[in-house]
Symmetry: D3
C-alpha cells in the first residue's frame, strides 16, 4: 500500500460505477487518491439485454464481454484497480465467504470513503442489497475479533451515488461534486458501455443538470461557481469537522 488516500466503490453490477460515480472516480484519482472499484457481479443476466438479444450467447461469454467493457471504463477513468467478485446477479447474493472476501478487500484498501447504491430500489433489488452488504461488511471490517492482528477499519463515510429514478428510490443528495474538469474521462468511460447506448444521453443530461444544481447551491446568480457538470451523493453518516 502506498501512503495515498483511498476510495472504494462497491458496484452491484459491472457498469453501475460508470454512470453513477465515474466523475468522482476520475477526479479523486487525479487528486492523488487510489480508487478501487469492486464489481459484485457482471450484471450478466439482468443488465446485458443487448448481448442476449443477439442470440447464441453463453453466460460465460456475456460475463467476459461485460468484464472487458468495465475494465475499459475503469481505465478511461484512470482508476487504480478494479476487482470482480462474480457473485451472480438477478438476484445478487453474497454468502458468508463472499462477504468475508469483500471485508478483506475493504481492509486492504482502508478507504477514506466508500461509494455504493441507494438504500431503496423497487426496480432493482440487487442495488439495495449491495448497499445492505456494504454496510454489513464495513461493520465486520471494524471488528477487532475478525482476523485478529489485521488492521481494522476506521469509520469511512459511505456515499450513496445517484440511482436511475431518484425520487422513486427516496434518494436525496446532500453533496454535489464539480466534475467539470474530468468530464472528458467520464464521457469516454460512458462510451465504453456499448451494450447500454440508450443511457448515454440520459447521463449526460444528468451531469449537466447536476451542474446547474451545483451553481445554484454555491451561490446562484449572486456568485455561484460556473460548474458545467456535477455528480450528487447522499451521505449515510454525519461528518466530523473543525469548521462549518
Amino acid at each position: 500500500m502506498s501512503d495515498n488516500k483511498t476510495v472504494l466503490v462497491i458496484s452491484a453490477h459491472s457498469a453501475d460505477f460508470v454512470w453513477r460515480c465515474g466523475g468522482a472516480i476520475a477526479l479523486h484519482q487525479e487528486r492523488g487518491y487510489d480508487v478501487t472499484i469492486a464489481c459484485l457481479s457482471y450484471g450478466e443476466r439482468g443488465e446485458s439485454a443487448k448481448l442476449w438479444k443477439q442470440g447464441g450467447m453463453t453466460l460465460d461469454q456475456v460475463k467476459a464481454a461485460r468484464r472487458k467493457e468495465a475494465e475499459a471504463a475503469a481505465a478511461a477513468l484512470g482508476a487504480h484497480d478494479i476487482q470482480f467478485l462474480d457473485a451472480g446477479d438477478y438476484p445478487l447474493e453474497l454468502d458468508r465467504d463472499k462477504k468475508f472476501a469483500l471485508v478483506d478487500l475493504i481492509r486492504q484498501v482502508q478507504p477514506t470513503f466508500m461509494l455504493s447504491h441507494s438504500m431503496y430500489d423497487p426496480y432493482n433489488t440487487d442495488h439495495m442489497y449491495a448497499t445492505k452488504v456494504a454496510m454489513e461488511c464495513r461493520m465486520i471490517a471494524q471488528a477487532w475479533g475478525h482476523n485478529p492482528g489485521e488492521k481494522v477499519l476506521g469509520a469511512p463515510q459511505l456515499y450513496l451515488f445517484e440511482p436511475h429514478q431518484t425520487e422513486q428510490m427516496g434518494w436525496k443528495p446532500d453533496v454535489f461534486l464539480d466534475i467539470t474538469s474530468v468530464w472528458d474521462k467520464k464521457w469516454a468511460a460512458i462510451q465504453c458501455m456499448q451494450g447500454q447506448e440508450h443511457l448515454w444521453t440520459f447521463y449526460e443530461n444528468v451531469a449537466e443538470n447536476r451542474g446547474n444544481h451545483f451553481r445554484r447551491n454555491s451561490g446562484g446568480q449572486a456568485g455561484g461557481r460556473a460548474a458545467k457538470y456535477a455528480e450528487g451523493f447522499q451521505s449515510v453518516y454525519p461528518r466530523t469537522v473543525d469548521e462549518l
Copy 2:
C-alpha cells in the same frame, strides 16, 4: 464590513444561541469569522419563569434582565455583534416590517452560513416559526427586486442547531463540530444564564456525549479524534465541493 467571513445566528429567544451553538460561535470567531447573533425576542414571556416567580416584575424589567444576560453570554463567546428584534414571544410573530428588518440584517452580514432552530417543535412553536422565517427571509434577501441596488444574498447554508429533545423534533445531525478548544468560553456563557440554571448540566452532558459521537464518527477505536466536547448540526441545503 471587513473582509472576514461571517456567520448569522437566528435565535427565537435570547438564550437559545448559548445552549445550542455557543461553541460554534466561539470557534468561528476565533477562526476569523465575524459572528452576528439576531435574537428575535427576549423570551420574556415564555422562558423567564424564574424571574416571574419572584413576583412584582414588569415585562420591560424582564426584557432588560434577559438582554443583559444575552449580552454577557455573547461577550463570553467573543461574538462580533448581537442584535435584538424584540418581536415578542409565546407566540413569536414577525410582521412584514420585522421580516424586512431581518432581511436588512442578512444582507448587511452577508453570512457564509446561517444557524437556526429545528424544522419542527411541538413543545415550542416559536422555534419552528423562527426557522420558517429564516428560510423566508433568506429567499427575500436573494431577490434582485428587493431594494434594488443592494448587494443580494448568495446561497448560504442554513444549519439547524440542536433542540432540547432531538428525537421529538425529528432533528438529525449530519455534521459534528469539535468545540473542545472553546469549551471554556461556552461554559462561561452558559453560566451567564442565571435564570435557567437547571439546564447547565444538561447541556454539559450533551456536549460531552456529542464529543463521543465525534470520536465515533471520525474513526472510533481505530483512530477517532479525541474530541471532548462537540456540537451537532443538521444542514438544510446540499453542499458543493471539489472533493468528497
Copy 3:
C-alpha cells in the same frame, strides 16, 4: 373548579368531537373526569351542506342549528361543558385575541390531557390548523409571563383523534380505548347530527373495526379483551411512567 381530573377537547367544527372522540368523552366523564369541549367554529359554512341545500338560510340560522345539535350531542355524552369560540370556518382563523381566549380556557380547565385533530389534512385545512393552534396555545398557557399570577399549565398530553381518511392524513394511532360500555351514549350523540346522517354508519363501522384492533392488540386469539367498540388516538408527546 372541583378536584376532578379534566379533559379539554378542541374541535375545529361543532360536530367533529362526536364522531372522533365521543366515546372518550362519555367514558372519561363516567370515570370522574370533567370534560370540556371547545368548538372553534360551528362548521357553518363548510359542514352544513344539508341545511344550505334547503335554501333560504342565513349564516346565523345555520350557526344556531349547528349549535343546538352540538349541545344535544354534548348532553348525550354527559360532557361537563361545551364552549363555542365562533371563529369562523372554511377557513378557520384565530387572531391573537381568539388565541388568548383559548389560552384562558386551557388555563381554566387545566386539562390532564387534550384532544384535537390530525397534524395533516389535505381535504380540510381547518382541521390541521386547529391542531397547530392547539399546540401554540398549549405553549402560551405554559408561559409564566402570560397573565402573570395565573396558574400556568403543566404538560398535558395532546391526543390526535381519528380523521376521516386516516391514511391520507398520515395519522397513526398508538393507543386504542375500549368504549364498549359507553357505545350507547356515543350512538345517541351521533344521532343528534341530523345534518350528516350519511356519516352515521361510517362511524359505527369505524368503532366496530377499532374494536377488532383492540382485541388484536390486547392478545388476539390467545387472550385478547372482548371489546366490541373502540376509538384510536395518536399521542404527540412521550408518556412518563413508573412501569412499562
Copy 4:
C-alpha cells in the same frame, strides 16, 4: 362556460407554469380541455434578476415585462385563459380577499383537475405557500355556505408539478405524461422566457430524461412506449377507478 372539461393551473410566479407543466397545458388543450392559468404573482421581485440587473427599472415595468412574457408563453401553449392575481412575491401573501378571488376563479372554472407546486421548498417559500393556498381555496370552494347558490366544487385531483431540485423538495412523481406530440409548443413557450435563458437547456434535459422514465415504466426493453419527452406529477388525492 362551454361543456369542455377544464384544468386550472395555480402558478406562484408568472413563469412557473411554463417549465413545470407547459406540456400538460398544451396536451390537454389539444385534447379538448379548456386550460386556465392563474398566476398569483409576476415573480417581479424575486424571479426577474435579469431585468433588475439592467438598472433603471421600476416595479411596474418589471411586472409589465413579466406579464408580456407569460401571455406569450400561454399563447404558445394554446391555453384557454391566463389570469394574474398580482398578490406580490418574495414573499407571496394572499389575504382573505385575494383567497376569495381565487375561490371565485376555481368555481368559475370547475376544474376536472388542478396543478400546483410541491408541498415543500426550502429554496422558495412562495412555492409551498402557493400549494397551501391551493388546498385551502379548494376546500372553501367546496363549502355550500360560501356564496350560497353558486355551483360548489366537486373533488378535483391536485397534481404537484416538478420543482427545480426534486429530491430537496421531497417531491415524488407518481404519474408520467407523454408530451412528445406537443414538445414543439412547450419549447416555443420556454423560449418566450427571455429573462431566464439559463434554464432553457435545463428543462429540455428534464423533459428528455422524464421521457426515459416514461419508457422504463411503460415496459422498458420489453415493450415500453417510445416517448421522447415527458412530464412528471405527484398526486395529492387518491384516484377513483373502475379498473386498475
Copy 5:
C-alpha cells in the same frame, strides 16, 4: 395463453387474497382479464387457529382444509386460476428454486399488473416478505439472461392491497376501486373462509367505508359516484399516461 389481459395476485397465505382484493379479482375477471392467484403458503401454521384448536390435526390435514377453502373462494370470485407454492409459513421462506418457480409463473402469466401485501407489517413478517419476494421476482422475470429465449416481463404495476391495520403498516391507498357490482361474489368468497368467521364483518365494514372514501374522492356531495363497496390499493411504481 389467450389474448386476454392478465392479473397476478401474490398472496402470502391462502386466505389473504379474499379479504384484501377479492373484489378486484372478481371485477377484472368480469371485465375480461384472466386473474391468476399464487398462494405462497397455505397459512397452515399461523392462520389456522380454529383448526388447530380442534385438536388431533396434522399439518397435511390443515393444508388440505385450507386449500379447499381457497379453491372454493377462488371459484366464487370466478378467478381464472389458483396456484399453490407450498413454501411454508410462520416463517414464509422461498429458496432460490421456489423463487424461480414464481418467476416462471410471472412469465407465464405476463401480468398487466400484480397485487401483493404492504411493504411493512410488524404483526406478520410473512406479509412484508411476500412483497419483497414479489419485487425481486418481478426483476428476475425482466432479465434477458434468465432462461434466455423466454418472453421477458415488461413493467407491470405492483399494487399493494389493504392490510389488517393500515396505519400500523404505513400503507396509504392512492387508488380506490368500485366493487359494488361484484360485492355478492366477494361476500360469497368471504363466507368460504369458515376458519376465520371473526373477520367477516370486519371486512364488510372495510368495504362499506372504502365505498364512502370512493364517493368522497369522486366528488363528494357535489357529484360523487354512489359506490356502495370499494377496495383501496397503493401503487409501487408511477403510472404512464396520455391524459391526467
Copy 6:
C-alpha cells in the same frame, strides 16, 4: 413458571442490555416481574476490542470473559434469568433452528412485554437484525400450528430501547421510565463492563438527560416529577387502555 408477570429482553450482544435497559430490568424485577435476558451473541468479535488488543486471545476465551461480565451485570440488576444463544456476531445470523430456540424461550417466558433494539442502525447491522428476528419469532410464537399443544403467545408490546446515536437510527422514544430508585443497580451493572469503560460516563449522561426529559414531560416547571435518572423506549405496537 410462577404467576409473576414477565419480561423478555432480546440483546444482540451480551452487553447491550446493560446500557440500554438496565434500569427497566432492575425496576421491573423489584416490582415483581421476572425478567429474562436473551443474549443472541457474546459480541465476541465486534464488541470486545479491549480484549483483542491484549493479544493472545482465542474466540472461546473472549466469549467466556464476555459471558462472565454479562452474568455479573445481570446479577447486579437482580434479573431473574440470563440465556446465551451463542449465534455469533459481526454478523449475527440465526438459522431456522436458532430462531425456533428463541421461539421456545418466548413461549416459556410468556412475556408481558419484550425489549429489543432500534429498527435501523447503519453502524451496527446486528442490532437491527436482532429486532427483525424478535418480530419474526414473536409471530411464530403466536402460531397455533407451531408445536401444537404448547401455550401460544398473546400480543406483548415490543419496546425498542435506546441506541447509541438515536437520531442516526431514526429512533423516537414515546415513553420515559423513571429509574431513579434503581440507578445504583444500573450503575453497578455498568461497572461490570470492564471492557467498555469508555462508555460509562456516556450512559450516565444519557440517564441524567433522560431524567430531564421525564421532568419536562411530566409537567416541567409547573409540577413535573423530580426524576433524576430515566430511560426512553419506543413502542412498536399500539396500547390498549381503559383510560387515556
